[in-house]
Amino acid sequence: MHLPEIDKFAHLKSPLHSWDPRVKIISISILILSIVLLKDPRVAFLGLILAIILVFLSKIPFSFVFVHLRWVLFFVLALFVILSLTTPGNLLMRLSFLSISREGARLSLLISLRAISAALLIFPMIGTTRFNLSLKALQKIRIPDKLIQLLMFTYRYIFLFLDEEKRIFTAANSRGWVRKTNLFTLKTTGNLVGMLLVRSFERTERIRDAMVSRGYSGRLKTLDDLTLCGKDFFKAALAITGAIMLSLSGWMG
């Protein structure tokens, strides 16, 4: 079955793959922050180009990126349409009874560019390192332990959850259940999802037992296998310079 693995291309070799994940996460996060704070769509467009360049440098196939971005794009498109039509201001265009304001078009374009750029940058940031190393990097940069454990277990068990979901729906289908737009389908889906949650809860108890029996006492301990070198800081300097340039461009208008 298809597994939603964001680190599917973590084995490739590129300047982003060889970048220490701690420095990479911090640097690209600064870049993301600088882009989402931009107020000018022209500068935001530069941010989008920078994000595309980073994805290109990471060697992660654009087809993979696009497949994983489709829901973000769908959401952005919805936002684009709503903002364009609902923001008051000078008339730009009229389509039958709908009117689009200049301010609305500008705002929706700005938000779309910022959102797509930020989502694109996740790929060079997380997709170029094995997920377990990204988690270790997050731990090293002092992200709260509970959040890291939550991410780790979500990543580890999402595959199992999807398998279980498939099994439970296959079992229902094998007994003649067909999804339709009626109350029975809604009720059955609710029951199946509820069953999945109960099973997940039972599994968490068993996992807890397994963890406790191997000495777990609330804090996740791992070995430190990350090393820093001069190149990491050079790459960080480039990314942060990019972030500062974008911010300055936006600020100077």
């Binding site: 397994a210 029996s213 191997r214 791992t222």
Partner: protein
Amino acid sequence: MSKAIRVRNLEYVYPDGTKALKGIDLDILKSESVGLIGPNGAGKSTLLLHLNGILKGQQSSVEVLGMKIEEKNLIKVRQKVAIVFQEPDDQLFMPTVFDDVAFGPINADYPEEKVRAKVKEALKGIRMESYEKRCSHHLSFGEKKRISLATVLSMQPEILILDEPTSNLDPRARRHLIELLKNLSLTKIVAGHDLELILEICQRVILLDEGEIVANADTRGVLSNKSLMESHGLELPLSLAA
């Protein structure tokens, strides 16, 4: 020979009122391999969870290698008593095989070199040295079972508890696991319904039903007792039925 496990008057009632264990008295000697059999719901898993302090019985005494299971020595007990759970996906909760096998030694505060050495040694023990960097969710069921064993062997336990170790394994993976277990010179407790496995690796067997020990004797003697086995919802193993 000294005792590895000593249990006296172990009672356990689940929060919903179900009496899972009723006055269990049990001694297991060091280096002994003991089978724990019984029908579903007999209390086998509940008993196993008491042996490294995950569950704590009411007014009972459980001693492991001379240590009473109490809050103050739980960490030490858990280093000595390792449990391999039935479902390998419950046992393998870390993103990679290395992290999973290293989990116990790291929690025991071993220095880094020692952790790495223990991981290597444990994976070598199950002949899966090259799996260190593999993701747990990408392994086959049989591989997951073997890695589950490595996750506890890396802690160098003195007592190994296995809950249904061969369930859902194909014959080759099952045989592989049995050979691995036979070569481990630890105190072993094997719970399950694979009576052929128990016959092969255990000298003694304990038959549990409705939370009580109904038989505790040499494996062949118990497993070949047709009336005893059938009266507790079990069957003779095929090799003894002939």
